[in-house]
């Protein structure tokens, strides 16, 4: 989904004061950067969800969550600034996509005060790391971002270079972190630490796995409604369609060199099969690639049937009379037409829904070492890596012809000696008669 035409809503996190219109917003203006959201420690500084990145000027209720927002007490808030804590980071990163655990499976509000079993680094009963313990910064350049391009080419430890822009597990743990002669050390060249050490994500709170926009727009008694499911999360929302939430989800695994490739709204798609909106870059042959765990968020969203592109959707109304906005008028055609026009892109006037997928690298919620993924979970025919083709893996792959030949040889010998033995027993019996 897109920020364009919905800025006022999205920019409560996609940062910047007053980012109402992508076309007019000055991204180079440092006064637009919100210092407080990251640094204030009173916990009272809240951006209004639909305030284009601004807190309210007078007390106001947000209809979406029925919460009351008060104007900040600027003096207190400003005097509290300090090193960012989990709350600062989490207020956006735990709630990406408009709610707790919607986007990331490994980042949600359960990491505010996690136990050691949920996150061995952040556990309040253990190391008690906060976010910036790993995501260290130099002049506001934050280390450990996954989405940097190009990905880091070299595996560096902090001992070599404590200003490495890309902090990874290996930065502290080295590339041979296990006991010497442990086979796991032989895996680190091809398997990311996260693949074994995050057996499942969303282990405390559910995360959204499926979002079907095509069913949006249904109303009860002429009114939009929400329906909650087993896990206490909405499974239907008139504005957004059907959701599927899951807990304790096993990741999917792909070769990954640290870069993600993105589909853009200008790219032509093949609607006959699921469309990947982004995908991990990497391969078995690339020495910088590792097998890495991902949450794959799937769903259905509108596309232009004639132009064969995904579309910009105008969801969030710009005012009370903005019937073009889907969340006001519930008319996809209008919402798409407005969004495409806003972005300066063509729209044929015909839309349909296509299945899409979006990958999120899984790197938080590292489990204690007793809860790692067991060898057999990958080294078996129907294991976690069953669909990762292109290389031989003991226990997973076999050689059909050799197995058939081998068993014929072994069983043939067995049958042979059995008959030979029977023959001896019979002939001896006869002689004794």
């Amino acid at each position: 989904m897109n920020i364009q035409s919905n800025e006022a809503r999205c920019t409560s996190c996609h940062a910047g004061y007053g980012w109402k219109d992508a076309k007019k917003f000055d991204f180079t203006d440092p006064t637009r950067v919100d210092c407080l959201v990251c640094h204030e420690q009173t916990g009272t500084y809240k951006k209004f969800p639909a305030g284009a990145g601004n807190p309210v000027k007078e007390t106001k209720v947000f209809k979406g969550n029925k919460k009351t927002y008060h104007p900040p007490e600027w003096n207190k808030v400003a005097q509290s600034v300090a090193r960012p804590g989990r709350k600062n980071c989490g207020s956006c990163h735990f709630f990406g996509g408009g709610g707790d655990g919607v986007k990331h499976g490994d980042l949600d509000s359960s990491l505010m005060k996690p136990s050691k079993t949920l996150d061995v680094h952040m556990g309040v009963d253990g190391q008690n790391f906060d976010c910036v313990r790993c995501h260290s910064t130099t002049l506001h350049h934050i280390a450990g971002r996954v989405y940097t391009t190009p990905a880091s080419k070299h595996r560096k430890s902090l001992i070599e270079d404590d200003l490495a822009s890309k902090i990874t597990c290996e930065s502290c743990h080295s590339s041979t972190p296990h006991k010497s002669h442990n086979k796991a050390n032989d895996h680190t060249d091809k398997v990311a630490c996260q693949s074994c050490h995050i057996p499942e994500y969303a282990r405390v709170q559910p995360t959204k796995m499926w979002w079907d926009w095509s069913t949006a727009g249904k109303k009860k008694n002429g009114k939009p409604y929400q329906e909650k499911g087993e896990l206490g999360k909405p499974v239907y929302d008139t504005k957004k369609g059907d959701f599927v939430w899951e807990k304790n989800v096993k990741p999917e695994y792909f070769w990954f060199n640290g870069s993600l490739q993105q589909l853009t709204v200008k790219d032509t798609i093949d609607p006959s099969k699921p469309v990947r909106i982004n995908w991990p870059v990497g391969s078995r042959e690339d020495e910088h690639s590792r097998i890495f765990p991902f949450k794959v968020h799937r769903g259905k969203q509108p596309y232009d049937k004639v132009n064969k592109t995904l579309t910009i959707l105008h969801l969030f109304p710009k005012g009370k009379d903005d019937k073009d906005a889907y969340w006001k008028g519930y008319d996809w055609n209008k919402a798409i037409a407005y969004g495409q026009d806003y972005a300066g892109l063509p729209y044929s006037g015909e839309y349909d829904f296509v299945e899409t997928s979006y990958v999120y690298p899984t790197t938080h919620m590292v489990a204690p070492k007793d809860n790692v993924v067991a060898c057999i979970e990958c080294h078996s025919a129907d294991g976690r890596l069953a669909s990762l083709a292109g290389f031989y893996m003991p226990g997973r792959d076999d050689f059909k012809a050799i197995n058939v030949f081998g068993w014929i040889l072994v069983l043939g010998t067995l049958v042979g000696v059995t008959f030979h033995g029977l023959g001896r027993a019979i002939s001896r019996g006869r002689k004794e008669d």
Binding site: K183, D186, D189, A374, C375, I376, H379, S380, A381, F391, Y392, P394, G395, R396, D397, D398, F399, I402, N403, F405, G406, W407, L409, V410, G412, T413, L414, G416, V417, H420, G421, G423, R424, S427, R428, K431
Partner: protein, 228 residues
Amino acid sequence: MTGKKMVNTYLYTRYERFWHWLQTTLITILLVTGFEVDGLYTLMGYGTAVEVHNFVGLTWLIAFAFFVFWLLTTGEWKQYVPTTKKMFTVIHYYMIGIFRGDPHPVPKRKEAKHNPLQRIAYLSVAAFLLPIQMISGFLYWGYNSWAAWGLDWLSLPVVAAIHILGAFGVLSFLVGHVYMTTTGHTLFAHIRAMITGWEEIQEGVELEDWEKRQRKGRKAGEPEAPSA
């Protein structure tokens, strides 16, 4: 059996017996853990199976080096020199004679423990099959060092395939070998010999020329045809 007198003879030295049973143990463990790693069943857990397999494999490699040293220094390697002499007589015996209660055409002697069929079988196993297993296994074990060893042209699936094929060969040999131990003059005579070193063999059987042609300074006795 014939009316020939059986004499209790010391056939296998302490080292031979030790080596035989050590190798039996190692190969059994390797087969059990190896097939688990190959995904045939779950027994001790994949990681443990790999660790045990690697450790026992390397142990075998080292122990085998001692065995080769023993073979060379004692001259026992001559027991493995293949021959076609009497090969067909022996085959004929196992196919027909054994059912009629005929005596073995090439009975065991201290200086010639192996009949022609055993010679060719044990030579194939000890000089061909087992070394293939050891070499392919060692390479498999060293997979992460291939680049450092200059062996990165090797292919893991090929090495694995050879190793698995060899494992089937060893298992098949084991089945036949265990069965053959029951073909002595009693069911457990051969096994007893491999445990105590002593086996009852026919008295007065002399070595034939072909059985001792490598031995120097020893007089050839009159070849004695086994009585029918």
